[in-house]
């Protein structure tokens, strides 16, 4: 097997080879580092690389695996982190100039858990500034480029994670998702991204965008991979809790399709809708009972989501906003600036609306097990188009489940006529990650979209 083929294997297959001592973690780490060195100048997936630290961790993992005993399934697996997870002794920037010299003393909780699981950190991944910055022509930093078309950027904000996984620059990654920042890049890069139930994974040590919407979750090339990563970052690591049960198809599965809401989305591309319809056909073929549903209260979604995200982001960044931007880039500064104009009353009204939304979705989820939608209405945009567009991309499909806190996953479900990946988003009731992952795994096994590789990676 070539080094390229090795780097593009799913995380769970790499884990098996490491456990069987068919490869060493150091060999694997060196293969990834060499590939990063070759492709990074075109892709810009990383903000910081940690090669020496990675080799050291890989040697330790190899020693532990050699000794035998209990190492855990992720021992020796090379991973990368969105650059908003605190990493002790390693610069953590949230891709903001205000953090250029920020070297945390402690790891974020999720990072501590991955370290305890024996993973090998290759580096810190590119992202939109504080997970919300808008690209601008006068920016002084490169953007992570989509491996499927280097003129395009994946939907933010965990952009580097989507790029690195699609191009085979790491085996797994952690991202954050406030309105779609895990699932959007996953859809645009043709990989898998899971936003778990709100607060299922600790946010301690993760830079804040909006406290009540921020979620931490795994990204990888296969459903089994994200299941294994999720097991490792829970409060109590539970290897196998999800990944050992992916073969089970939830009996009597009911899938709700909000057809009217999907079709009403401005800018919905016909290829995306076609791929989604075909994906529903696959789920029906697997035994899902599908039904058209009306989503309650979603006509107010954008107003509530914008008010909450902007108010919380402006509150978090208030000292810098008072200082005229305080070193923030314009694309982020101008975007969160609008949060200053919402009053406390506006914020409370939006949270009252959110209570109504959550209550009505709790009732809806007694009639269906899964809600299926496209992840994003479009495929990956051209960088120059995004720079020319002052308005940030709308995140309605994904943002809905940040508002309700429900678990939601994006999996590859097709390609548009330009060869760009399309994502299927499945969302379940709170804490129903097991069922969600089972349905996603069954869909993945019944299709081969996840097997295609971007030209640069092949």
């Amino acid at each position: 097997m070539s080094a390229a083929e090795l780097c593009l294997l799913p995380l769970h297959e790499l884990a098996e080879r490491l456990q069987r001592r068919q490869i060493s973690s150091l060999e694997l780490t060196d293969a990834y580092l060499a590939r990063i060195e070759r492709l990074e100048p075109q892709l810009h997936a990383f903000i910081t690389l940690t090669p020496e630290r990675a080799r050291r961790a890989a040697r330790q993992a190899d020693e532990a695996l050699q000794r035998g005993g209990h190492t855990g399934p992720l021992a020796g697996i090379p991973i990368a982190l969105k650059d908003l997870f605190d990493t002790a002794g390693i610069r953590t920037t949230a891709n903001s100039p205000v953090n250029d010299h920020n070297i945390p003393a402690e790891d974020a909780d999720a990072v501590s858990r991955l370290n305890a699981a024996g993973t090998v950190l290759l580096g810190k991944l590119h992202m939109n500034e504080y997970a919300f910055g808008n690209p601008r022509p006068d920016d002084d930093v490169p953007y992570a480029r989509n491996p499927w078309d280097l003129a395009r950027i994946p939907w933010g904000s965990s952009s580097g994670a989507g790029v690195a996984l699609a191009a085979g620059l790491c085996a797994g990654a952690l991202g954050s998702d406030t309105a779609g920042s895990i699932r959007g890049p996953a859809a645009h890069c043709g990989i898998v991204g899971l936003k778990p139930t709100y607060d299922l994974v600790s946010r301690k040590g993760v830079a804040v965008l909006a406290w009540t919407l921020d979620h931490v979750g795994p990204m990888a090339r296969r459903v089994r991979d994200v299941a294994m990563l999720l097991e490792a970052i829970l409060d109590e690591a539970s290897p196998g809790a999800y990944s050992d049960r992916l073969h089970i198809w939830p009996r009597g599965l009911r899938v709700g399709i909000p057809g009217r809401w999907i079709a009403a989305k401005q800018g919905l591309e016909p290829d995306v809708l076609m791929a989604f319809d075909e994906a529903i056909g696959v789920l029906e073929g697997l035994g899902a009972e599908t039904q058209d549903i009306e989503l309650p209260a979603v006509e107010h979604l954008t107003g509530m989501l914008q008010t909450i995200i902007l108010s919380e982001a402006a509150a978090y960044q208030a000292p810098r906003l008072r200082a005229g931007g305080g070193g923030l880039r314009r694309g982020f500064y101008e975007r969160i600036m609008s949060g200053l104009f919402y009053s406390a009353v506006d914020y409370i009204q939006a949270q009252r609306g959110r209570a109504m939304l959550c209550r009505e979705f709790a009732a809806l989820m007694t009639t269906v097990d899964i809600i299926a939608t496209p992840t994003v209405a479009t495929t990956s945009p051209l960088l120059e188009e995004r720079m020319a567009d002052v308005a940030p991309p709308s995140a309605e499909y994904t943002g809905l489940f940040n508002m309700t806190g429900q678990p939601s996953i994006s999996i590859p479900c097709g390609f548009d006529r330009r060869g760009l990946p399309i994502g299927l988003m499945l969302s379940a009731a709170p804490y129903q990650e097991e069922k969600l992952l089972q349905v996603a795994a069954a869909y993945e096994a019944a299709t081969d979209w996840h097997r295609r590789l971007p030209p640069i990676a092949a």
């Binding site: 829970l234 999800y242 107003g303 200053l340 129903q432 069922k435």
Partner: protein, 78 residues
Amino acid sequence: MAQEQDPETERLLTVARHFGYNLSAADLTIARLTYPRTRQALDRLLETLPPDEEPALIFITPADDLGMGVADERGKDE
């Protein structure tokens, strides 16, 4: 020479100054675009909100309170 500003920009700058933020019209490029739309959306929300609806400041019930942990969920759908 001072540039004349439209009334809405002037109003937003005044509001910001009142709360201690010294902004310029150039800072408001995105705010001028998004704020009015969101403001209208919030007004529409208020027309439909039940009067006794409480804010969702803690909007999701912790798993333990629901008796739903990872382990508890196993086996339900087999």
